[in-house]
């Protein structure tokens, strides 16, 4: 019979793995995890900003269809280079974003927790159908599942779907299965549920045929059934699909902010 060596690396790995999973499941590993997360969060945030700068730059390059776009791209390139070379300027920008957010929050009497994005996580490992954001605030900071998340402009960009002690996962409004109770600012104040569509736009389904909706109508949160207050802007209607033989009609909504460039946001505490 073959004897298993004591210092067999596979055996050692399995023992350590079992121990880690056991300690994690009973919560004994949590203090260690929190300390480690606390240490790496600022670094993660910087890494994410760096990646985002590149992403932003790349996105701008793809959209160079006209001269004005080229000018814009060059302007942003200059901005990107300036930001990259000067940590101070980045801090100034971040500060102004936080001020904007603070102004929005104080104007609306919202209690909120400001957070930084530290990573993006795909819904299904590497999927392009939608992405979630990971922020550096969690249960310890008062963040809870179902709470709304707004951008610096005060536009709702998603909601909290998972939490850890010191971090939380947010689904973006454009991601599939990220549902929000919404209302259209038309005469009938049409209510419905919004859902993300391929990570690009938002769809509002099950709107009765008799309701009159038109492109350009603003869609806001309805405040029903959850932790998200009423009146946060989701986006604008860009297309309405209604077939005469259907019971329902649906609307395509465009978010008002670019969800790919979010680095700072606020979680609204109800």
């Amino acid at each position: 019979m073959k004897r298993i060596k004591r210092n067999n690396p596979i055996l050692i790995f399995l023992v350590v793995f079992g121990l880690l999973v056991f300690l994690h499941s009973i919560g004994a590993l949590r203090p260690v995890e929190n300390v480690l997360l606390g240490i790496v969060k600022p670094i993660s945030s910087r890494f994410y900003s760096l990646g985002n700068v590149f992403s932003h730059y790349n996105q701008d390059r793809e959209n160079q269809t006209s001269l004005s776009n080229q000018v814009e791209a060059l302007t942003s390139e200059v901005a990107v280079l300036t930001v990259a070379n000067s940590a101070q300027k980045e801090l100034v920008e971040e500060n102004s974003k936080l001020r904007k957010q603070l102004k929005f929050l104080s104007d609306n009497n919202f209690k909120a927790v400001a957070a930084e994005v530290i990573a993006r996580e795909s819904i299904s490992e590497g999927s392009d159908s939608g992405q979630d954001l990971v922020i550096n605030k969690g249960a310890r900071d008062g963040v809870n599942i179902g709470q709304g998340v707004v951008s610096e402009e005060g536009v709702i960009v998603g909601k909290v779907i998972e939490i850890k002690d010191t971090s939380a996962k947010i689904c973006l409004t454009t991601s599939p299965e990220c549902k929000l109770a919404a209302a259209i600012q038309n005469q009938a104040r049409t209510q419905g549920i919004t859902d993300g569509d391929l990570g690009l736009t938002i769809i509002m389904n099950f709107i009765p045929q008799l309701e009159k909706i038109s492109a350009g109508d603003t869609v806001i949160t309805s405040g029903l059934g959850g932790n998200i207050p009423r009146g946060l802007v989701i986006g604008k209607v860009i297309e309405v699909r209604n077939e005469s033989n259907e019971v329902w009609q649906d609307a395509t909504i465009e978010p008002l902010v670019n969800l790919n460039n979010i680095t700072v946001l606020s979680v609204i505490i109800p």
């Binding site: 999973v21 790496v40 990573a119």
Partner: protein
């Protein structure tokens, strides 16, 4: 003893940095750049050029970090990396026994495929959304193509880099003596 301590510290630092780069920096990049699996590439490279023991230590460190940082269930990355390395070792011992660029390319692409199958399957098993099986989703195949592209590219780069640094992968020829 002190040398060993420093060696382990450096390995922990490098692998932690790689895991952090994978989690925060690469995830923020647009497609196809964000599909580059840095940690997986380094692990395959380690088992190919160095040994299984070091690769398993690396997998333990990087896997632990990714499990702590990510929102997948704890042990997700640890178990995937473990399976990948075991498969790599088995392939290297039984099938791809020489150390050529083609071997590394085949290993990288094969293991990238296996990594994706395994990770998607595990996520599918623990998911509540059973609407479409992952093999029938276009996103799965698109990710696979991107990852295979990056794996091939990194294999070529790393192999040539290693060829400069070490003599281990240089071919040798037996010289035939000519008898008069």
């Amino acid at each position: 003893m002190l040398k060993r301590f420093w060696q382990i510290s450096i390995i922990i630092f490098i692998l932690s940095a790689l895991a952090l780069l994978q989690f925060s920096l690469l995830s923020a990049l647009p497609d196809p750049f964000r599909q580059f699996n840095l940690v997986l590439t380094v692990l395959i490279f380690t088992v190919f050029f160095l040994d299984l023991r070091l690769a398993l230590i690396s997998a333990m460190i990087a896997g632990f970090w990714l499990d702590v940082l990510s929102f997948h269930f704890f042990g997700f990355y640890l178990i995937i990396f473990f399976c990948i390395l075991l498969l790599a070792e088995w392939i290297l011992k039984n099938w791809l026994t020489n150390r050529s660029l083609y071997t590394l390319l085949a290993l990288m692409i094969g293991l990238t495929f296996f990594y994706n199958i395994l990770s998607f399957a595990m996520l599918y098993m623990f998911s509540t959304d059973f609407t479409t099986f992952f093999l029938f989703k276009s996103s799965f195949w698109l990710v696979l193509v991107y990852q295979c592209f990056w794996s091939s590219l990194s294999a070529i780069f790393l192999f040539n880099l290693a060829a400069v640094v070490t003599k281990r992968i240089k071919p040798f020829f037996l010289e035939k003596k000519r008898f008069m």
